[in-house]
């Protein structure tokens, strides 16, 4: 009786169907149809995971370590993570109850946001940002509140602008430094001012520090080390970038135990535990990966210097990115929108970059170029971009 006559309910939840399609997806589809494309659109390392880490994964499988681990992740791995954070970040977390191993920073981000967000809660994040941030907040029934950063101060967060965006519904601030897509880092005065605002308004802070090993001009300072910040910070980190382990899907979150407990609840129902083979490989990364990690970092630095120098020579103004492996040059002088610029560059010269607008407010007028690709390709890309920019100027 029922069904056929009644008005059909929407099959997909409204807050999901309302999510905008990713601006990156469109370029992915375009690029897939073309030959001889040099892609500067790849947000992952161009290295394969160092052999010693891969070999540990193989060994883990050989020994038959194929079952679940504890929800929080193997204790030896959590111990090693906390030791690593103490040694390199001066952070002090307890492996027993302040650290949870996740399926990449992606999952850590998801459970951190879900653990703290009630429907209608606002979460402020600096923009342009990693594409998942606003979507993750929306999926948790929160309200994403972007605060644009500015190239004039190297895309560092503007504490005053963040403070202005705070309302009684604000629950947390979400930041990512070194930043995808700008390569900006956060230190000194800007870091302190951000911490002051968060403390003054009694907010939580989610800090995605996934690129923190990849800094080139100064050592990374975690915001959780500032006075009064540890108790209100959820620190997110992982292995994808610094150890070239994107496909292993492994990361972690560290925070005070009440927050980790809440995240663990979601994680235990939704995920159970991160992949065992990836956990054992991650353990090897922390135990014996320092040298390989440093080699990769130095290689990104070399490429950054050449590539960013080249962009500025071509006439695309680019602030020196101090971290990650992205350059975020301004294309405003071309007179094109960032999407048009990227489309035309792809069509005319077969070079793929991502329009800054795909990364949210503040991204328009810029494009993201990943320099995690071979030097020869980078140099050829520079030649092609130079030719393209020249042809625009002549018109």
């Amino acid at each position: 009786m029922s069904g056929s006559k009644s008005v059909r309910k929407a099959r997909v939840a409204r807050h999901i169907s309302a999510l905008p399609p990713s601006g990156i997806r469109k370029f992915f589809d375009l690029v897939s149809t073309m030959d001889e494309v040099i892609s500067l659109g790849i947000g992952e390392p161009d290295f394969t995971t160092p052999w010693t880490i891969r070999e540990s994964g193989i060994y883990s499988i050989e020994r038959g370590h194929t079952s679940y681990t504890s929800n929080l992740g193997m204790l030896p791995l959590r111990r090693e993570i906390c030791r690593y954070l103490a040694r390199d970040y001066h952070l002090d977390y307890h492996p027993e109850n302040e650290c949870i191993v996740t399926v990449g920073v992606s999952e850590a981000l998801d459970i951190a946001i879900r653990a703290i967000t009630e429907p209608g809660d606002e979460i402020i994040y600096t923009s342009p940002s990693f594409v998942s941030y606003p979507a993750e907040i929306t999926m948790a029934h929160g309200v994403p509140v972007p605060v644009a950063t500015n190239c004039k101060n190297g895309f560092a967060p503007d504490a005053a602008a963040i403070e202005k965006a705070i309302t009684p519904k604000t629950k947390a601030v979400l930041v990512n430094f070194p930043s995808n897509p700008t390569g900006a880092t956060l230190s000194g005065k800007a870091l302190k001012e951000l911490a002051d605002v968060v403390i003054r308004h009694d907010l939580l802070l989610i800090s995605d520090e996934i690129y923190s090993e990849l800094t080139y001009d100064e050592t990374h300072v975690s915001i959780a080390t500032l006075p009064g910040m540890r108790e209100r910070t959820i620190f997110l980190h992982g292995f994808s970038k610094a150890f070239a382990m994107t496909g292993w899907r492994i990361g972690y979150a560290c925070a005070p135990s009440d927050l980790v407990d809440a995240m663990k609840k979601i994680h235990q129902y939704a995920i159970m535990s991160a992949p065992t083979v990836a956990q054992e490989a991650a353990l090897e990364a922390l135990r014996h990966g320092d040298e390989a990690r440093e080699t990769m970092r130095a290689s990104y630095q070399e490429r950054r210097d050449i590539f960013v120098g080249g962009l500025n020579q071509i006439g695309l103004d680019c602030v020196m990115p101090h971290g990650a492996f992205y350059a975020f040059p301004s294309i405003k002088r071309s007179g094109l929108s960032s999407e048009k610029f990227a489309e035309k560059l792809l069509e005319k010269e077969h070079v793929a970059v991502i329009p800054g607008s795909a990364f949210g407010p503040g991204g328009e007028g810029f494009v993201r170029c990943s320099y995690a690709t071979g030097l020869d390709e980078l140099e050829e890309a520079l030649r092609r971009i130079g030719r393209f920019v020249g042809s625009l100027a002549r018109k």
């Binding site: 990156i24 690029v31 790849i42 992952e44 161009d46 793929a352 991502i354």
Partner: protein
Amino acid sequence: MDKLLKILSENAPIDLEKVAKATKSTVKEVTKKLKDFEKSGLYHGCTAILDDSAYDKEQVRALIEVRITPRREGGFDQVARRIAKFPEVSDLALVSGSYDLLLTVRGSSLREVANFVAAKLATIDGVLSTSTSFQLKKYKESGHMMEDDEEYERLKVCP
């Protein structure tokens, strides 16, 4: 042997401009530094990494372990230097363990290498014994894998 390969195997050119760029210096500075390295005995030239078997199936390489008696004056050096002079010998080192010298010998056929061992090497005064292992397949040289893993395609665009 192909002329280009021969040149590469003896003294491969260096892309000075590329090196200069990578070390943030000039071609002139790099050239000067190379000269200094050469003078100090650190740098002895640059050869290409080749898999001989790929262009000539008959090419052979042999690893030869040699036991020798040290000379009263020159120790092992005198004998080792004498052996090193043969153009057939591409690498030679004094090693610890159950034999004294380890050499790599190249030849255009098995017979050529066998002849070299029997007629030249074994007859040198001071050489007590030799043990020859022919190389069957090379997997890695100077840090380079001889066979690349299958192409594994990454996503062309990702966040």
